[in-house]
Amino acid sequence: MNKDNSTRQLPYLGFGLGLRVEHYETLLENPGPVEWLEVISENYMIPGGRPLVWLEKFRERFPLVMHGVSMSIGSTDPLDQGYLKRLAALAKRIEPKWVSDHLCWTGVQGVNLHDLMPLPYTEEALTHVVDRVRRVQDALGRRILLENVSSYITYVDSQLSEWDFLAAIAERADCLILLDINNIYVSAHNHGFSPLAYLDGIPASRVQQFHLAGHEHGEQLIIDTHDAPIVSPVWDLYVEAVRRYGHVSTMIERDDHIPPLEELLVELDQARRLALPLLQAAA
């Protein structure tokens, strides 16, 4: 197990959940063993009203991190300065432990596809993204985390593996990594690579957070739906990730078909049961 945590410099938060409206009241009344929450940044980049009141309540009770879906760090459109200003204002307001988004592009020519479109793994894309990450980090005054996305297409021009591309961006831009274990599994199936090779290719010192989620099997490919329980092979991959990266804040991310909180707490317990013995053994 790699214990080199020197680059992280951000706190270890333990085991958390993605905050969803369906769980607002239950989480405040009886948070159970939830140690921290991840909030979707865009849901709270609003002028006022009820969502921000809820957010303040959660901020009093839990460590929060912000997770965005619209930074479009890989787009060739100019960085959306209005978006960055609102993101920075929200971060200033709620003081999250960290801010993350996805290694992808979500639109170009002023059109937003509202999807996490993969980038070609080329030197050109690498240089482009590194420059934008640096500028975003300057604007926010903090290092950001970038998450690996699930993907279905392969660009003919790609020269690097996805993990080499992600690792190189993290090193060159000096940002951190949010590893979605389910997304690695989904993309590994869809593109025929080894998920363990992926894990081996990511520098442990850059990994700050894990996402765990479920997916759906299509006829030929796995579709990343984040709307189902975590499957056994993803749990196995999580164990491998904990072995390699050690103490990494872990959370269950359910985006649709939101079940009762208890159901997610069972999954969170399973994450604990799998991770804690490995972490204790390595201590």
Binding site: G48, G49, S70, V111, T122, Y152, T154, V156, L221
Partner: protein
Amino acid sequence: MSSLQALQQEMLQAVLADATPRLRELRGDERANAATRLDIYRHGYRIRLRDALAVEYPGLSLMAGKRLPALLENYVEAHPSGHYNIRWHGAGLAAFLDYGRPWREKPELADMARLDWAISTVFDAPDEPALAVSDMAAVPPSAWGELVLEPQPHLQILSTPYNVEAFRRAADQELMRPRLRHYSKMRHLLIWRQELTVRYRSVDSDELAVLTDAIAGKPFAALCECLAQYHGEDEAMSRMATLLHGWVDSGLLRSCNYPEV
């Protein structure tokens, strides 16, 4: 143009296109060919926008019924999203229904969309204080004539001959679809937020007139004159008192201002 820029523009057009194009930039394999892979993004784009619109427009969803999928599909194909927040893709739906065929033949749909969108935007409008009874009690008697009432900045007024609010209420409360009613006269709905709760109700023409004057910044004396045109001078003050009480009670006023006496 960089090759990355060209690739992204080509991908964008491929996702938006009516039919799946063949892109030389994509590679398939034994699991799935390139077109099958691309279709996941094309399909997902449309589903996501339609789902977000249906959430943002519950009243319209109920009113349109079985025509809803076609309506949303028409809009999505005609209007790509330009905002980072998917919710704002719906901002142009009422205007689309005003002018797009065949929807413009059913003007109640555009009015319904306007109410849904007003509710949506009022929901997270900037937080503002609300005028309290104690604020009104503190106004010196001599200042009332020049008193200016400031309605909530987020207050919206919707004029429609249809009972659109009945559809919205039914959608929110999961009730049966109401019967569409077309009134001979235009009706006026107020949409505003009382603290964190969005409210909407219809108003009579006298209340609309006096509220419009208040929004324009006319002083209290002018508001009373406005009401006198509807009720005569004797009844105007009593009607004004009733309206004022209701406005303060429901958080419809932000503040009041008057010159120092």
